[in-house]
Amino acid sequence: MSDKKKELKPNTYKFDTLSLHAGYQPHKNAGSRQVPIYQTTSYLFDDVDHAAALFNLERGGHIYSRISNPTVGVLEERVASLEGGTAALATSSGMSAIFLTVMTLCEAGDHLVVSSQLYGGTVNLFRLTLPKFGIKCTFVKPRDTEGFKKAIQKNTKGIFGELVGNPGNEIMNMPEIAKIAHDAGIPLMVDATYQTPYLCKPFEHGADIVIHSLTKWMAGHGSSMAGILVEGGKFDWMQNDKFPTMTKPYEGYHGLSFAEEFGPTAFTMKARAEGMRDFGPCLSPQNAWNVLQGIETLSVRMKKHCSNAEEMVKYLSKHESVAWVSHPSVPDHPDHELAKKLLPNGRGSMIAFGIKGGKDAGVAFINNVKLASHLANVGDTRTLVIHPASGTHSQMDEATLKFAGLSHDMIRLSVGIEDIDDIKNDFEIGFRAARKPRLVSNQ
């Protein structure tokens, strides 16, 4: 045995342990091993002084479940811990997390630089809805790193993107775009729904705010809507005068300056104190609990999602009915190397592929698979498929489809954690039907 002194190592809990335990202490909750569902709207004050203290943010605690709830609070702390963030705020859906983030950051007259490859709902928010509030956006293709820099204006308050765009699987160069944002004194916001902190922790690559639709892989079981915004805690709001609502006394809270008072958690404190109070997209305690159940097995599920996805990529790449396959694990994917760096634990379970025979073949495939579910969601434990050209985007002509990064032959696949042979067998049924679309019945 060596008599060398043992090296000092921090023993803070690691990812898999935090997934199960972070944010919760049983001994403060009647010893309940599971996180209790606090199904309540409001909380007793000890006395008048206590009530005033809570309203003035003099002490921590709960007032009303629109603002905070103990079950939801466990979820918030858990996700913050997994992301390596300082604080988090859970919301009723992913969309409300994005909206609340923007409304906490921006005022009328502000501008954002936004990746053009985003979930469709997010595109609508940035393109059509935010301008109604006086907030304008410039869209930049995710691979056009320089384009992000060029699009920054005097009134730009942040950059927003999804790490891996959907459905084209284009990856934005997060470390470089973070640097561009920071050089301009503005934060980078990243929607990391498709990665979960198991695959990528955007704070480690320079992001300042991370957003999730928890509805997807984090909850994982296709049961509950939820969203969250997480704060990295590094961004200095006081470095310039771009963020007066963070740095100047705020009338809504007795002249409080969030940045001075709460530093690395200022953004979340403001999003809750102002955004939750005034917009109110709170998460129900039952749904928070459902999401917590999902997070308990996050790394176990993500491993299987990713290994099944890689198997499917191999299978599809060799298949006679498949024209092309897009997934960052494919060696000739243009972002293959960047994906290795940013997603070392796996490249995610979203695959897009082209089916030979175009739109009709796509329709036949979708109508005939039995195990894969045809629906408008991603990140379920079950395998999901959709043919955008005949479903979600059926009104679009060829040119518009192309602009949206879609094509008539494209099938979007969210690989589940079923036995891989069963998924492949199911796809064989779909492909057989696709080869003779008119001979196979839809019934």
Partner: protein, 272 residues
């Protein structure tokens, strides 16, 4: 608010209320490598209840300019200068960890100025683990990670922050990494390690004193805290179960309740 001490700009949080010279002054002094932010769950209460509550950033820390002070004695003099700089004649002091060494030394040096002394996770001496000290002096972020590990009790490692949505281990880490580690934590750890006058200083203290200690505090164990308290005449001691060194956050409410009773009794607020 910002003001100058010895030519350098100092930042102090006023707990969200404007500074008002008529109100009695409480100064909160943070621990090694940290900032005024560690006090957020205590300062705001006093600010809203008849006090000037000043959570300072030591020089070179948080939002204060200048270089970090190299000894506990210099920091003690600096705290006294802060009282003068904001136009007061006296103050109540509250310290955490290294802040306890500073406030004990300050109270001993300026007995007429200091009206009450509250020590959170304090000890008469804080000798540093040599490896931790060397990591901090070499700007290694591992020093912060180790400090966050040791500073939180077993319960605190799970989280369960009193403010919904905050994860305190990561928040503490961010605070301690917000400036260059060797210039903050490194200098502070060395100052703690060098300071030998704590027990002697304690013997001279005559003002009402409170010590809040925690059973799972690895950095300033209960035994050490009690030893210090025993040297201060009539010192009050409160011990918190299931809690580590970061009691201001881990058991923020309990700390506030005890502190509130002690300070309002011994150093009454300006009644409105």
């Amino acid at each position: 608010m910002k003001f100058k001490v010895n030519g350098h700009e100092v930042f102090a949080s006023t707990g969200g209320r404007p500074f008002d010279k008529k109100k009695p002054l409480i100064i909160f002094v943070h621990g090694s490598g940290l900032t005024h932010m560690t006090w957020v769950l205590q300062t705001r209460y006093f600010a809203f209840h008849g006090y000037n509550s000043l959570a300072v950033d030591l020089p070179g820390h948080g939002l204060s300019s200048g270089a970090s002070l190299k000894s506990i004695e210099e920091m003690a003099d600096w705290v006294s200068d802060v009282i003068d700089a904001v136009g007061h004649k006296e103050a109540s002091l509250v310290g955490h960890s290294q802040g306890c060494l500073v406030t004990v030394e300050c109270t001993s040096r300026y007995p007429n100025k200091i009206k009450t002394l509250s020590l959170m996770g304090g000890a008469g001496a804080i000798p540093m683990n040599p490896e931790l000290l060397s990591l901090a002096e070499n700007n290694d972020p591992k020093a912060v990670d180790l400090m966050m590990d040791w500073a939180h009790g077993p319960a605190g490692h799970f989280g369960g922050h009193p403010v919904p949505g905050l994860y305190h281990i990561n928040t503490g880490t961010m605070l301690a990494k917000s400036r260059t580690i060797q210039n903050t934590l490194g200098v502070d750890f060395r100052a703690c390690d060098n300071y030998k006058n704590g027990f002697e200083a304690a013997k001279t203290i005559k003002c009402p004193t409170l010590s809040i200690l925690a059973t799972d505090d690895k950095m300033c164990p209960v035994k050490e805290g009690k030893k210090l308290a025993s040297l201060i005449d009539g010192s009050q001691v409160d011990i918190i179960d299931n809690c580590g060194h970061m009691m201001l956050l881990e058991e923020a409410d309990r700390v506030l309740t005890v502190l509130k009773k002690f300070i309002t009794t011994n150093y009454p607020p300006l009644s409105s």
